[in-house]
């Protein structure tokens, strides 16, 4: 049933894309509302946002960096908006391969977020920081949420999943708009 639904979704996306009404075409370049502010699930003052970076590394999408007020924690949200789901899946694979060299002692586990969600936990190569990365696809988007903190203070998995699910919902709402 799920496969049938996904196949239907892909077919619909393909039809819409061919007709000139794909996700990216429907909202050309308007990615500013995509990132979910982590203050939504905190005490609402904990994080400050840097100005979003559009089309990071030349890829269509948006990247937002949120820094904790004490400076010891940082959340980086990257949402890439690609032509189709296959491209999004490929971009996600590329991002995960890149992360493999960025996270030491990494442990990967499945995460019930979006499509193909995974959570990677580990440390920075020098061991000075904890690093947790949640990645998932949703339609034609590929998302990574990176949580950097002190080595003794990794991001709690419930927080990672909660923010990830809110991000996934925001993407689906954006796609449906």
């Amino acid at each position: 049933m799920k496969i049938r639904t996904m196949a239907g979704g892909f077919a619909t996306a393909a039809v819409l894309t061919m007709g000139g009404f794909g996700y990216a075409a429907a909202q050309p370049g308007d990615f500013s509302t995509l990132p979910v502010d982590p203050n939504l699930i905190t005490d609402s003052l904990a994080y400050s946002a840097a100005p979003p970076v559009f089309n990071p590394n030349g890829q269509p999408g948006v990247q937002a960096v949120y820094t904790h007020r004490d400076g010891s924690r940082q959340i980086t949200s990257t949402v890439l908006v690609l032509p189709d789901a296959q491209a999004a899946s490929a971009a996600l694979d590329g991002a995960r391969a890149e992360l493999a060299g960025k996270v030491a002692n990494g442990k990967t586990q499945a995460a019930a977020v979006g499509s193909g969600g995974t959570m990677l936990t580990g440390t920075s190569p020098d061991g000075s920081k904890s690093v947790t990365v949640l990645s998932f696809a949703e339609g034609n988007t590929a998302t990574t949420l990176e949580f950097d903190g002190a080595s003794t203070d990794p991001a709690p998995s419930d927080l990672v999943l909660e923010l990830g699910r809110k991000q996934d919902t925001a993407i689906r709402d954006w796609q449906a708009a």
């Binding site: 699930i41 005490d43 203070d153 709690p156």
Partner: protein
């Protein structure tokens, strides 16, 4: 004379016994058997659970939790 002495001695002994008995009875009657007196027991040790820092905790955080600024901002976090 000897008989008088003996009589006085016997009278003294008898009067002493009677007086002692009255005193003992009087002392006994001062206790009301209908009043229940609870024994005073020593207070047992009170258990005060502590937070991560060995204090009684702040901001309503329970034992095993501590108030600090963490990933979710200010809040109670486990030790």
């Amino acid at each position: 004379m000897r008989k008088i002495g003996m009589a006085l001695a016997i009278a003294a002994v008898l009067s002493g016994s009677v007086a002692t008995a009255q005193t003992a009875y009087a002392a006994q009657s001062s206790h009301d058997t209908n009043v229940s007196i609870q024994p005073v027991l020593p207070a047992g040790p009170k258990l005060q659970l502590l937070d991560c820092y060995g204090t009684t905790g702040g901001m309503g955080c329970g034992p095993g939790w501590v108030w600090r600024d963490g990933w979710r901002g200010m809040g109670c976090y486990p030790c």
